[in-house]
């Protein structure tokens, strides 16, 4: 008997301890999972700010009931003027009934009463910090060094000249008329014809190669990363928070434009998320301004101000590009052309050349995924027939005419 009692007691005690400790840890988690989309601690959101909520409710039991099912509470307690007014004050928005145990509610309330101290904001690690990269000063150092050396050469040659003239004076010799630097150079060149030719060739070749790259880079804006009206970080959205590209750029799956999301798409999340760790709070405020969202009143004012983004990827008018062709039919990942966007902070940059050669290279190499798409059934059969001598069985975009002019130019 004793054993049974001890055993049961110990089990109960153990369970209690276990659950209690678990709940204490889970207060924050529970709050974030169940409450945070509508409540903040120190700020109104869809519902009221929750700090001091226990002080505002006289009857703690009523508070528990209210949290678990506010609509039920309102029905059962029509006399509770505080609760009734609260409901009206917040636009009669219904708080979802919460399937929480008393212990869990308690944990949440504990968390609200004693929020953990603000962790020191990680200064560099997480924020969108891609400021202008530290400039490479080695070139300047080299240049300075060259200048110093040149001065040394000049001084030394001056010293040498003085010494020579002193020596000549001492020996009563007549120095030959000093030659100008140009004449000297010509004389030197006349004496060293082969070397001169070699040097001229090397200089010409270097200039041509450099010139070629300069000319080739005209109109190529790889790495173009203009300042944007809002410091939007793909790293935070697509990286840290793993938001699908298509959530914002959904038209990439439908038509030719990937599209910059309209402000109402931003507001889907940012109605609730109004703060960031580094620049977030000020930048999110800009979204609110664009959308005409009054965060205080939690209402749209109707005064909208479209955001003027700076376009990064500018394809010329004479090139037709369709995103859905590549993303839906070609099953290409966004990253193929845009790079590891989820690693890019602010500002977003152009990852690829976007030149015709770059397009063509990819069309030459990329295999078309014909399987499972009935459009290609007949074409695949015909291609197998045509290339049976070459024994090609997987076909690239080139094989289906992807290098033809009128595929992109019309």
């Amino acid at each position: 008997m004793f054993r049974v009692v001890t055993y049961s007691l110990s089990v109960v005690l153990f369970t209690f301890l276990l659950s209690n400790s678990a709940l204490a840890q889970d207060g924050e988690k529970l709050f974030k999972a169940n409450c945070a989309s509508c409540h903040k601690l120190n700020k109104k959101l869809i519902g009221p700010a929750l700090t001091g909520v226990q002080d505002r409710w006289e009857d703690q039991e009523a508070l528990y009931a209210w949290i678990k099912n506010s609509q039920d509470y309102l029905k059962k307690n029509p006399d509770d003027s505080y609760a009734q007014e609260l409901f009206v004050e917040y636009n009669k928005s219904v708080m979802t009934a919460q399937a929480l145990s008393d212990a869990e509610v308690g944990a949440i309330l504990d968390y609200i009463a004693n929020p953990p101290e603000d962790k020191a904001a990680p200064a560099v690690a997480e924020g969108p910090v891609a400021r202008a990269p530290a400039e490479n000063y080695s070139t300047y150092w080299m240049l300075g060094l060259v200048v110093v050396l040149l001065i040394v050469v000049k001084v030394l040659s001056g010293v040498k000249g003085s010494l020579q003239s002193v020596k000549a004076k001492l020996n009563d010799e007549v120095l030959p008329e000093p030659k100008g630097p140009i004449e000297g150079l010509f004389e030197w060149m006349a004496n060293n014809k082969r070397l001169t030719v070699a040097i001229v060739l090397v200089v010409l070749a270097t200039l041509s190669v450099q010139g070629w790259f300069v000319v080739k880079s005209i109109g190529v804006y790889k790495g173009y990363a203009p300042e944007q009206p809002i410091k939007f970080s793909h790293k935070i959205h697509a990286g840290t928070n793993s938001i699908e590209c298509g959530y914002c750029h959904h038209s990439a799956y439908k038509g030719k434009n990937a599209g910059i999301p309209s402000v109402n798409v931003c507001m889907n999340c940012h109605k609730g998320i109004s703060e960031g760790k580094v620049d977030g709070t000020t930048e999110i405020a800009k979204i609110y301004e664009a959308a005409g969202w009054d965060a205080e009143q939690q209402a749209y004012t109707g005064v909208e101000k479209p955001i003027k983004w700076i376009r990064i990827h500018n394809l010329p008018d004479f090139a037709y590009f369709n995103h859905s062709q590549h993303v839906v039919v070609g099953k290409q990942k966004c990253q193929t052309c845009h790079g590891e966007v989820e690693e890019f902070g602010y500002p977003m940059k152009q990852h690829s050349d976007l030149t015709m050669g770059w397009c063509i290279d990819c069309h030459r190499e990329t295999k078309v995924s014909m399987e499972g798409n009935e459009y290609y059934t007949k074409i695949h059969k015909e291609l197998l027939e045509r290339y049976k001598d070459e024994k090609i069985e997987a076909f690239t975009v080139e094989h289906i005419g992807g290098l033809e002019c009128a595929k992109c130019h019309y």
Binding site: I218, N264, G292, I379, E404, C405
Partner: protein, 1055 residues
């Protein structure tokens, strides 16, 4: 093959030395360096070589610097994106077009909210759905910067509330004193507009005392009769038909004419394939029965003054004077009555040089043989003549068969007397006049003179016109693509006009303005909904009514109850009396006024695409002119009109009004007659519209409305010359198998490759060894792999092509083809990706030569002789996308290449403008950009893409070409690519109909078919394999991907 010899202009026929010389050169002029250098008289200053080098150095430097600069392009997304809009994906909205007597149920293509293209609505009954050039080109008028941008008072801007207050006050004052308010409006079939008029009448109509007589003709007293405020006025009215039906059937309606059931068709001066009433519907029905493969092919007789589209397509055509229209009707009535065994009217022609009497008898026989399945139509505006025509149709039993009165064409209504209105205005009875969709100051001379007598003039026009500029107030209406409206084009068939864009300017629906002024403050949208709820949806509960309304808006069409023939619409006409009333006076010259397929009554004059579209017959653009038979011009006026030999200008006086117009030779025009187009000479409109001479003041008024022919004509040489902008002289195909034609009996009885009479022989040529082989086997180049994948092709049925030109404007709007203007066309620099060549034929044939035994030399000589009354064929020509394209082999920079899908690709940004390709093209379809048409000040007001507003009509999927490159038909490659993409995304093969070119989409008669030739089930494949198909200039060995279907005329027998 037909043995007729075709020529495409009188110069070609006569082989003028200058013409022949020009014909040898594709580009008859050197590069117009001066034109683009002489902007500031640069050529007058003496620029030295040093200056030139400086300029060049500067430009190279500037270009390099410009190239280095990183462009900053803003990208501004929606704040709240509408759910239905996806950037880069087009939306289509159903709507309606109703203007100038033309009605179409349409689909409007919008991109990012901008309407950019119009095509026929497929939800509308197939037999009636189609668009004309005027309908599909109307989309650019939305972006006309000439439009009113808000209400105006005496030319200065004013707010809507102010204008409403002022006008309401003035109208109230008029009502107070019992004055008269008149609304001059175009005829409309819109139930809600008519309901608006009724509301307006309730408020402002006056009562007139009318004497009432009893049956004994004794005065019984007086009665007050309501006098409607609305004066229906169309520049081109059809009161003749309406009055005749009123007299014969008791109801003033335009019936439904069913050309698809008519085995014999006789048209007396009615261009039913062109501008006469519902031309699109008639063309559809007509061409359905013009297929020689069908169970039967209709036989078409046309008696007319000037060559019309209907005349060009006719099997038998007779040229008659306008004054003989009544006589032909009477003769036909007499002949048909004789066959029926009764006595009919009789008539004789004042002048018969075209064997009319015999043709009328043939027509009567064919009509009688197809009793109840034939049709006689007449274009006269004389009710008596129309009554005789009704009599013929009644004798033939056509009513309730091919003609149905219960399903009336409501787009055209009986016009009210302008003479009475003008009289009342002059005597000061009319206190206020409101212009709604009408411009009588331009199209009615007497009205224009009287309009200043009216105290209050209000215009509801959406853009300035001759009437609105004289108005005290302008309350601009929406453009139709911005507005709600409803129509009932045919009784029982309702359509919706749904806005495809929000109003661009501060405009308001005209009906809403009228409602506001008579105290109804609902929006016109709500008013339409109310009208529908109380009429079409009467009795339905709210939910059903809403559903019906939504589906009507979505599809654009609502079909009312099926109509049974009305018993009380029985014929009770008196042909004898009507025939007796027909008076015909002839003169030395007679004139016929007509409306061009492109310009119509002139309301759409400021539409550069329409101005540039050549007339189907004369092939002249940008002007009106006097058409005359070449034999009448012989020795007096210049018949060949080229750059060096401009047209003569004559001074034509009709009914006392004198106009100076150039003379254009037009075979087929009745000798002793001339034709003049209406709708030109606008003065108060944009740059593009101010061309030609206004011919409306020359119209004679009869029974209060205008008639469109006259014999009070005198012509004198004005001693001047004028260069017309004609497109066809410059497109010669010389003397090859271009249009193939045969007769129905030959087609039925003879094999196409028959040695003697073969009508579509395969082209064969002897090779180096003297062996005759098919052209296809004689190859210089390796073949493209055309049997694999897709191979896009087009077939054009010359039997179905009526020459209307809807494809031309549709092509231009889809592909951002620039309008180049009159001056450039004069210089042979037209920019048509798709043109319709028109060829006249000679009446001399090899068979005729043999039977008449005229001798070979004489026969060929006569073949070249112009027949004054020739037959006409049309041939749409665009890039033939040759599999062995001569252009591709001569391009030095590989800017034009061949795709594996059979396309002849043109890469503009690779083109350096050598124009070798154009010189080497046997079809002359490659056109050169001589200017930056979208920027050059020379084209301001002409090319519709010069400013921010006008540019909105451009198709964002097609690039705008720059100066110095060749461009041409691409087979709408952007539509091919998008059709393929749709199929790929859906994971299915491309179906026939997924990919349709703009011209094919626009063709109301389905003459142009487009599709994949490697798809065995496609309609193009079937057409390519048809016996009638042939390739143009096949002997050159180009192997085109465009096939033409031999034209078969029903000239021998009646199936």
């Amino acid at each position: 093959m037909s043995d007729k010899k075709y020529w495409n202009s009188v110069d070609h026929l006569e082989e003028e030395p200058l013409f022949v010389e020009e014909a040898q050169k594709e580009f008859s002029e050197a590069v117009p360096v001066e034109d683009f250098l002489s902007k500031s008289n640069l050529s007058d200053t003496s620029a030295s070589r040093r200056d030139f080098l400086k300029f060049m150095g500067f430009s190279i430097g500037a270009a390099t610097l410009a190239a280095c600069e990183t462009p900053v392009v803003k990208s501004i997304p929606y704040v709240v994106k509408p759910e239905e809009v996806t950037p880069g994906v087009a939306n289509w909205y159903a709507s309606s077009f109703s203007k100038g007597g033309t009605f179409s149920s349409i689909l409007v293509k919008t991109r990012e909210g901008r309407p950019i293209f119009i095509k026929a609505n497929d939800a509308y009954p197939e037999a009636m759905s189609g668009v004309t050039a005027r309908v599909n080109a109307s989309v650019i008028e939305l972006y006309d910067d000439n439009r009113y941008q808000g209400p105006q008072k005496a030319g200065t801007t004013i707010g809507w509330s102010d204008v409403d207050t002022e006008i309401s006050k003035k109208l109230a004052a008029i009502k107070e004193k019992g004055g008269t308010v008149k609304v001059v409006a175009e005829s409309t079939s819109s139930p809600s507009t008519l309901a608006t008029f009724a509301k307006f009448d309730e408020m402002f109509s006056t009562e007139t005392e009318v004497e009432v007589y009893g049956e004994d003709a004794l005065l019984k007293g007086t009665e007050m009769v309501k006098d409607s405020c609305v004066v229906t006025f169309d520049p081109i009215n059809y009161n003749g038909v309406l009055s005749a039906n009123k007299a014969d059937f008791g109801k003033a309606v335009i019936p439904t004419y069913d050309f698809s059931k008519a085995k014999t068709i006789v048209s007396i001066d009615a261009d039913f394939l062109g501008d006469w009433l519902d031309g699109v519907t008639y063309s559809k029905g007509y061409t359905q029965r013009r297929k020689p493969e069908g169970a039967w092919m209709s036989k078409h007789y046309q008696f007319e003054t000037m060559m019309s589209m209907a005349g060009a397509n006719a099997d038998v055509r007779g040229a008659i004077k306008p004054s003989d229209v009544g006589n032909v009707a009477k003769m036909l009535h007499g002949a048909v009555a004789k066959l029926a065994g009764s006595a009919g009217a009789s008539g004789s022609l004042s002048d018969d040089d075209n064997n009319i009497a015999a043709k009328v008898n043939d027509a009567a026989k064919d009509l009688w043989a197809a009793k109840g399945k034939c049709l006689v139509v007449c274009g006269s505006n004389d009710a008596n003549i129309q009554q005789v025509v009704n009599g013929i149709n009644n004798l033939l039993g056509n009513y309730n068969n091919t003609i149905r009165l219960e399903r009336a064409y409501n787009v055209v209504q009986m016009n009210d007397s302008m003479v009475d209105l003008t009289k009342n205005m002059n005597s000061g009875i009319v206190d206020a006049v409101i212009f709604m969709d009408s411009n009588p100051v331009y199209s009615n001379a007497a009205f224009a003179a009287a309009v200043s007598k009216v105290g209050l003039k209000i215009s509801l026009a959406d853009r300035p016109d001759e009437s609105s500029v004289l108005c005290d107030y302008v309350c601009p209406s929406h453009f139709f693509l911005e507005a709600w409206n409803d129509y009932q084009p045919y009784t029982g068939v309702f359509t919706m006009q749904q806005p495809a864009i929000r109003p661009l300017f501060k405009t308001r629906a005209a009906q809403e303005s009228l409602l506001r002024w008579c105290g109804v403050n609902t929006s016109y949208y709500d008013f339409i909904k109310e009208t529908w709820t109380s009429t079409a949806f009467a009795g339905a509960d709210a939910l059903t009514a809403t559903n019906k309304w939504n589906s009507a808006v979505q599809s654009g069409v609502y079909m009312g109850a099926k109509m049974a023939p009305e018993a009380d619409l029985a014929y009770s006409g008196d042909t004898g009396a009507a025939a007796g009333n027909i008076k015909s006076t002839t003169g030395e010259w007679e004139v016929k006024f007509y409306a061009k397929q492109s310009i119509g009554n002139g309301a759409q004059a400021n539409n550069p695409h329409l101005q540039e579209m050549p007339d189907p017959i004369s092939k002249v653009s940008w002007d009106n002119y006097v058409t005359m038979n070449p034999s009448d011009m012989e020795g007096k006026y210049e018949i060949r009109t080229a750059q060096a030999t401009p047209a003569n200008v004559v001074s034509v006086t009709v009914n006392g009004h004198t106009m100076e117009l150039p003379v254009v030779a037009l075979p087929g025009q009745k000798r002793g007659t001339i034709g003049i187009a209406l709708g030109y000479g606008r003065t108060e409109t944009g740059t593009a519209g101010k061309v030609g001479v206004n011919a409306y003041p020359a119209l004679e008024m009869k029974d209060g409305v205008a008639v469109y022919s006259s014999s009070k004509v005198s012509i004198a040489d004005a001693g001047k010359t004028y260069q017309i902008a004609s497109v066809q002289t410059h497109h010669t195909m010389m003397d090859r198998k271009i249009v193939n034609e045969t007769t129905l009996s030959t087609f039925k009885a003879v094999d196409k490759n028959d040695d003697v009479n073969g009508w579509n022989k395969d082209s064969k040529l002897a090779d180096a060894f003297g062996k005759v082989r098919p052209i296809k086997e004689l190859n210089l180049w390796a073949d493209h792999a055309i049997e694999k994948g897709h191979r896009w092709g087009m077939s054009i049925d010359l039997n179905s092509c009526t020459g209307c030109g809807a494809c031309v404007t549709a092509c231009h709007i889809e592909n951002n083809v620039p309008v180049v203007g009159k001056d450039e066309i004069r210089r042979t620099r037209s920019m048509f990706w798709l043109r319709i060549d028109r060829y006249f034929s000679s009446d001399m044939t090899k068979e005729k030569g043999k039977t008449d035994d005229v001798g070979v030399v004489s026969m060929y000589k006569q073949m070249e002789n112009p027949s004054d009354y020739p037959q006409v064929v049309f041939q749409p020509v665009m890039c033939q996308h040759c599999n062995h394209a001569p252009c591709e082999t001569v391009c030095p920079v590989a800017a034009t290449t061949h795709s594996e899908e059979g396309l002849n690709q043109m890469t503009y940004n690779r083109c350096v403008g050598t124009r070798y390709c154009a010189n080497n093209c046997p079809y002359k379809v490659r056109r050169f950009n001589w200017f930056n048409y979208n920027k050059d000040s020379k084209f301001t007001g002409i090319n519709p893409a010069q400013n921010e507003l006008q540019r909105m009509v451009l198709n964002p999927d097609v690039v705008v070409r720059s100066r110095g490159v060749i461009e041409k038909c691409s087979f709408c490659v952007q539509k091919i690519q998008s059709g393929k993409l749709t199929a790929k995304k859906a994971g299915r093969p491309v179906k026939d109909g997924d990919v349709v070119s703009a011209c094919s989409e626009a063709c109301p008669t389905n003459a142009i078919q487009f599709g994949d030739l490697n798809d065995s089930k496609s309609s193009v494949r079937a057409n390519f394999d048809d016996d009638r198909s042939y390739f143009m200039a096949e002997e050159v060995g180009t192997q085109p991907n465009v096939a033409y279907m031999t034209k078969v005329r029903n000239t021998e027998n009646l199936a």
